[in-house]
Every structure is written in C-alpha cells, then in structure tokens.
C-alpha cells in the first residue's frame, strides 16, 4: 500500500497515517508533508514499518531540500513517485 501525506509531520493527518501503516507500506511526503525534513527525529523516520520518501520538487519549493540532504533523508523525483503508484495497487491520501 502507498500512502501520500500532504500535511505537516505533526498534524492530525500525519498521526492518523502513522497509525495506519502496515509492514512493507510506502509513503510519499508531498506539499507541506516535506516539512518532515526538518525533524530527523520524526516518528515516521524512526519507524521500521514503512519506506518514507520526500518528493524532491516540493522539498525544493518549500526551501527544505538542502536540510533534507544534510540529514540524509530519502528524496524521490516525480518519476519515482509514479513508480511507487505502479507498484502499489492501493493508494491512500492523508490530507
């Protein structure tokens, strides 16, 4: 399953998403979701259940791309986002 989060990492939507993750799920953080780049200690980054990615374009537009890189957080481009939607039949958006 693929989850898409477009709200900040401590929002209701983020908490609900984290509580809904199953082992092997993937997550793409888009729009305000990329604010998670500022929190290397965020519960999502620590969780072993899911692979979580920041959408690079949105990290750039929101000014958090370099901080994401400096924290060694995983970024993906649009084609990587599309790839994840190909690989996961079920896609849930949290907003």
């Amino acid at each position: 399953m693929l989850h898409i989060l477009n709200k900040p990492p401590h929002s209701d939507a983020a908490v609900q998403m984290l509580n809904a993750l199953s082992n092997g799920d993937s997550v793409v953080l888009i729009e305000d979701g990329v604010q998670a780049a500022l929190y290397p200690e965020w519960q999502g980054w620590a969780a072993n259940t899911a692979s979580i990615f920041l959408l690079a374009e949105d990290a750039i537009s929101r000014g958090v791309h370099s901080v994401a890189t400096s924290h060694g957080l995983p970024l993906i481009e649009m084609d990587g986002f599309i790839r994840l939607t190909e690989q996961n039949e079920k896609i849930i958006s949290w907003y």
Partner: protein
C-alpha cells in the same frame, strides 16, 4: 496502466489542483493513461470558466481542458457539490432559474456513482485534496 484522479481542492485556495495536474502530466509522460478526473468538494471550482487569474498565473480550468483535448481525459464534476457551491452548467442553470452559468463541456456534471465507477474501472485512483 489506467489512472483516475480525485481532486477535492479549489484552485488558488489549495495546492491540490496544482499537485494533481503535475501528477497527471508525469503519469502521461511515463506512458500511462488517465481515464478521468473527478472533481468533488471544493474541487468543483476547477470547472469554473469565470476564473480570471492574473496573467502570470496558470488558469487551472484551461489546463484541465488542455489535458482533456490532448489526452482524452474525462472531466467529471459532482453535481450536488457543484450546485451548492455555485458551479452550474447551462442546463442546470435553467432548471434552477438562473440566467447565467459557469460550467461548460468538456466538464460534465455527474453523480457520485461516477466516482465509484472510476475507482473500480481504473488500476489506480489517487486523491489530491
């Protein structure tokens, strides 16, 4: 693959339409197909032909229309959500005693059943809200 999109944010008030449009373009570039976009909740405002953004900004309605003409993407708008919010076709305007209207083809007013069908007929349904 066949994709479907559900858009629930209004242009200029939410970034959802922009994200959805960007996703649509990328998914088409990868050789996939988009069956349709369903506009629900505040997303119905995407269909308004009365929006007049400043010249240096994208007219979101026109961008959706381009996507329809170039790639045959159906543009369905939830009729109940649209009427409530003042987005009406010529036919609905007449039925509700309005002289003006602001929704035209290729946007189509339709019921929620269309959304359920889109989710069932597509390989992937993705929500932007």
């Amino acid at each position: 693959m066949e994709y479907g999109l559900l858009v629930m944010g209004a242009p200029y008030s939410s970034t959802a339409p922009h994200s959805a449009l960007r996703f649509a373009q990328a998914v088409l570039n990868e050789g996939h197909h988009i069956k349709g976009v369903f506009f629900y909740q505040d997303g119905v405002h995407n269909a308004s032909r009365l929006m007049s953004p400043p010249q240096d900004e994208l007219n979101m309605r026109d961008a959706w229309v381009d996507l329809h003409h170039q790639h045959g993407v159906a543009l369905d708008v939830c009729i109940a959500a649209a009427l409530r919010r003042g987005v009406v076709s010529e036919a609905e305007a007449k039925r509700h005693g309005k002289v003006n209207f602001n929704l035209e083809p290729p946007f189509e007013l339709t019921g929620l059943g269309q959304l359920l069908e889109l989710q069932q007929r597509c390989d992937r349904l993705i929500t932007f809200a």
